[in-house]
Point group: C2
Chain length 506, copies 2
């Protein structure tokens, strides 16, 4: 079993630590590449969803013959709890992000948990170019062949897909008056927020969880992401922070000699016979980043299980070393919290290239519009100091895809600058949830914008923790977050029903 998801991520995160490389590509702009949790609390006798396909248009914004091509877009549907069109019962739609939609559906238990209370229909729509929703007749090789075929993979097309599919679905269900609320986490949360802003006639509100819509251009500091990770570990113990911060030089030093590399291989139980120091740095930092992002308050099932509060557990492993008092032993023990909590893995395959959740398309998105500067590390950072390089990104994308990023497009299309001023008097019904232990939270909306564009901020929270299935062990603050979200959404829906009554009386 591969303990990580992104083949590209591995390649790229290592480049970051290779001084000779100019392509400082990081994993962090794969916002939700870490939602590896598996279904926790769904009753085993309940089928989560039925799978359907919608004939979707390839290009919504142009009218040349190519744009009329279609593809089969997958969506998952569960009508178990739906009150039906006669009572205009609501429809909850998950705006799928960069991966297999089944994986997101299985990990967005909140929608299942609250569906009965709302009598809601549940729909999870897969993002084009991911999972089974592949243009070019479903032929992934063709779709991912080059920039010509990949060109149709963009956020605006995805949003238009969702609008088109939802309108069609509502017509087919004769549920035109059923209110739709969109849900999403991470990039899916960005899409949910943008969907409410761009398609208010299709969705009455959005729950955008951990959606770093302000992590573009210079709106959010490039140091924010790694500062939060730093703070996560440092808040556990100063020693933990110092050991990790000091480790990079030791790994680099070891990587310079064969003896040192052999020491790394043994210390970190690496399967491969030869590995560079950079790979080890990447492997360790991936564990730190993703553990910070998913520092959940309850045990969670990733691909391998994780304990509650895994950052605390990592620091415990470092502060109270069981395997030896040297840095590598401490680090290895800590990394095991993320990679091997059950202890089943005997050696780690750092060159594993598998991508079981089909996240590979994100790299294209990061090379075109999702230019989110998160790579900066100031001198206090738990990682080696570095600055974000747009040029590096552009060179990488040119070499890899022959494509130039459009780094200002997202703010041109969706805004971001002065967001409070802009949305204070425009738009409504969006919840931005952020947990402050999530490194992406720095790029999120952290203050209320208006009476109905609400920021819910929880200092103990991690990456879209609110969207997970509830458990009996959930702490009070998490229950409170969800209660608040439910209460706000109920308000949207009852206001919508009241407006319907009023408009008919009118």
């Amino acid at each position: 079993m591969a303990p990580w998801m992104l083949p590209l991520f591995l390649t790229l995160v290592f480049l970051q630590y290779s001084p000779s490389s100019c392509a400082k590509f990081q994993p962090r702009y794969f916002p939700s590449s870490i939602i590896h949790t598996k279904l926790q609390s769904l009753p085993s006798n309940n089928k989560l969803y039925k799978t359907r396909y919608f004939t979707q248009i390839l290009d919504h914004f142009n009218y040349n013959p190519q744009s009329y091509q279609t593809f089969q877009q997958r969506y998952l549907i569960n009508n178990t709890f739906w009150g039906g069109p006669k009572i205009n019962a609501p429809i909850f739609v998950y705006t799928g992000n960069e991966g297999n939609i089944e994986w997101f559906a299985q990990n967005t238990g909140f929608m299942y948990d609250i569906a009965p209370e709302f009598k809601a229909l549940l729909v999870f729509i897969e993002h084009r170019f991911y999972g089974k929703s592949i243009p070019y007749g479903g032929d992934k090789k063709k779709a991912y062949k080059n920039s010509k075929s990949l060109g149709y993979l963009s956020s605006t097309q995805a949003l238009a897909d969702y609008a088109t599919l939802i309108v069609d679905l509502k017509n087919n269900l004769t549920a035109m008056d059923s209110p739709v609320i969109v849900f999403g986490g991470s990039y899916g949360g960005m899409l949910a927020a943008w969907f409410r802003l761009k398609y208010p006639h299709v969705a009455i509100g959005a729950l955008a969880s951990s959606s770093p819509i302000l992590q573009f251009e210079n709106i959010t500091s490039q140091y924010s992401f790694n500062n939060i990770i730093t703070q996560d570990f440092r808040s556990e113990s100063e020693n933990c922070y110092k050991v990790i911060k000091g480790s990079w030089d030791e790994i680099k030093e070891a990587g310079r000699t064969n003896r040192g590399l052999e020491l790394l291989r043994k210390s970190f139980h690496i399967c491969e016979n030869y590995i560079s120091g950079g790979y080890v740095e990447g492997w360790v930092s991936e564990a730190l980043i993703y553990t910070a992002m998913t520092d959940y308050p309850t045990p969670s099932n990733f691909l391998s299980p994780m304990p509650a509060y895994p950052v605390k557990q990592m620091c415990k492993a470092i502060d109270n070393p069981k395997l030896g008092n040297n840095t590598f032993a401490k680090l290895y023990d800590a990394a095991n919290i993320y990679y091997n909590y059950t202890g089943n893995v005997s050696c780690f395959n750092l060159l594993d290239n598998s991508d079981p959740h089909d996240l590979g398309g994100w790299q294209w998105q990061a090379c075109t519009e999702m230019v989110m500067p998160t790579d900066g590390n100031n001198k206090e950072s738990i990682f080696p100091a570095s600055t974000y390089s747009y040029t590096g990104r552009a060179q990488y994308c040119e070499a890899y895809y022959k494509v130039q990023p459009r780094p200002t497009w997202i703010t041109t299309e969706f805004g971001g600058h002065d967001i409070t001023r802009v949305l204070k008097r425009f738009g409504s019904n969006i919840i931005f949830f952020n947990g402050l232990r999530d490194p992406w939270s720095g790029g999120g909306v952290l203050k209320n914008i208006s009476k109905s564009i609400i920021a819910i901020v929880e200092k103990e929270g991690a990456h879209h923790v609110d969207l997970r299935f509830s458990t009996n062990e959930d702490p009070e603050w998490l229950r409170d977050v969800r209660k608040r979200e439910i209460s706000i959404m109920k308000g949207w829906i009852s206001e919508y029903y009241q407006d319907m009554v009023d408009s008919h009386a009118y």
Copy 2:
């Protein structure tokens, strides 16, 4: 001199009257093909604008190599009145519609009239594929060659052009904090309203004049357009309405024999030696439609001059015939109000194909997304009874462009159904002006939606009369409309400035 503008219009309007034709294509979905007024009150010593070009991207929503092609987009700019970036003086942007932007600039005197008071910069942006803003290196033949090249002519691309250009312009002027208000009439007004809804971070408000954003699908009755024209003439005199309504059979009857055709030729002073009855019907109905649309309260300069209240004048010509008491003489006299008010034209060339304002691209837009059913005529209509045929449109578009319309796209992308309910709690700062004598007003927003999404409705008004240069003869109601618009826009701007102060104090 050609008394009409649209070669396609002529072809198409005639098809309507040809019973053997299934393509009932009408001119009415060229919403603003009638803004033929010329500059009236601008001081002759003042240059209206400077011409500039912006390197615009061909495709904003895709990332294939083709989408990275660029073209030179023309815009006109006048900084005579601008207060400059230091005081964050406002920027007024006209979102160009389907024609040469110089023509729109010259006919949107309202922006010039109010610029000094607002210390506003004036910018008029040309719509892609019109005027000089032609992709494919400015080569119009290439750009209009087929559906492959024309594919990039769409409203969403145009809106993204405007956003991109405005953001770049503001950066270049270091005027990032200058508030932008967008203006537009007819299709340009639709674009202005949609721009505010889709790009609230770029424009703080929109004055959308005579913008029939509800003339899609079944939101507005297909009979509305011609009912309003009917009412315009009928309100002048019942006899006028009856004479016109009765004329179609007479024309048709005359068209059946050579003698009848010769009578038509002579009666209507047609230059061509042979013409079918259908052409005469089209020629007369064009005069009626466009005179209704531009039934302004002051003399206006079209390509040829028009008197104040031209509908009234037409009915006078019919009710008090000077040239003879037969129907054709009456109709000819009435048509002269529209086609030949100065009396300089000795004969009319019905086959003239010239398109001086470069409006031809609208047909492509009407064949793809601008599917606006206005062709219905009920039995009370001043025109012969008919019903709108989507199939007819689709067949025409297939034959002419090999393209299929997407008749539900506009409402999917921009909304329209239940607009009051949707925008009551979403969005702000839009003025929808409509004059009820304008046949397009039936598809407009005629009721206030919220405190800041305002409908200004004037029963005496015609197509975007508010946007015209003011004159000393303007009636009180027109002055009042403009005063109200100015007052509302002042409110937006002062609120914006106050919000800036508040956000800095924050």
